[in-house]
Subunit: 129 residues, 2 copies
DNA sequence: TAACTGTATTATTTATATTAATACAGTTAG
DNA sequence: CTAACTGTATTAATATAAATAATACAGTTA
């Protein structure tokens, strides 16, 4: 299904997450499609099942997939939930950053101006290590 | 000069940095005023001189102080430089966060609206661990 | 029941961050 | 130039945290 670089400084489970997120976001894996089982994937990639499980657990926590004990793990149908959670996180980060900037005495208008100059990004970019 | 909590989970050198930043930002320590020497402060606080030095090194990197080998360490006169560097860092973070948010399809106006609702913070807050 | 599925707990290993020991080099007063 | 101060660089030891692995448990299905 994909390849893993065990020599990379990037943790295996993160590499896994990234690739799976990619597949899900790009709709290569459709809603409710079953993911390979933790053991199957572990065997295929020759890594410990727990590492797969960690990736799956994180992906579930972030709303990308859902798992049913005994049945399997599947692509989450509600993409909006992903956005919801992610947005919540990003909003907090945004507030923190902007808070710090404002603390430095930069007027709010300046911050807004900065954002206004930013371009709406193109979709579909990967960027691996 | 100040106290350190060696039982805290916050590293000693960070505690030190925070307190010194506080003194500098609040102008308790004036421009070009000499800081206690690494050894003097180390002795006073009963901690290793290298820990002090690490704090000083970081503070210098961030523009809060400057050090002259053989002479001592002093409060940096150009406060703007602090803001400059810090702003540069924050700006990058801001762009990253906003970039991610825009990537989720949130329109720019929404982001701006979010910022507009934020309050200009009060000055002078510490917040220790 | 057998062979699959995910999960939880704990231990082990590895990486990173923090602190310390020590030696070096510049500055200045006498 | 020496003595006593200053900051700095290198390296080692220690502490903390992160990543991975071993193992046992529990649900599902044919």
């Amino acid at each position: 299904m994909f390849t893993i670089d065990s020599r990379s400084r990037v943790p295996i489970y993160e590499q896994l997450m990234k690739k799976l997120q990619e597949l899900i976001i790009r709709d290569v894996m459709k809603e409710d499609e079953q993911l390979p089982s933790v053991r199957a994937l572990a065997q295929q990639l020759t890594i410990n099942p727990n590492t797969i499980q960690k990736a799956y657990r994180e992906l579930e926590r972030e709303g990308y997939i859902y798992s049913i004990p005994g049945k399997g793990s599947f692509v989450s149908p509600v993409k909006n939930k992903i956005d919801k959670e992610r947005m919540e996180m990003l909003r907090k980060e945004l507030e923190r950053i902007v808070g710090e900037i404002l603390y430095l005495g930069v007027p709010k208008d300046e911050v807004i101006k900065l954002i206004e100059t930013m371009e709406e990004p193109e979709r579909g970019e990967s960027g691996n290590d």
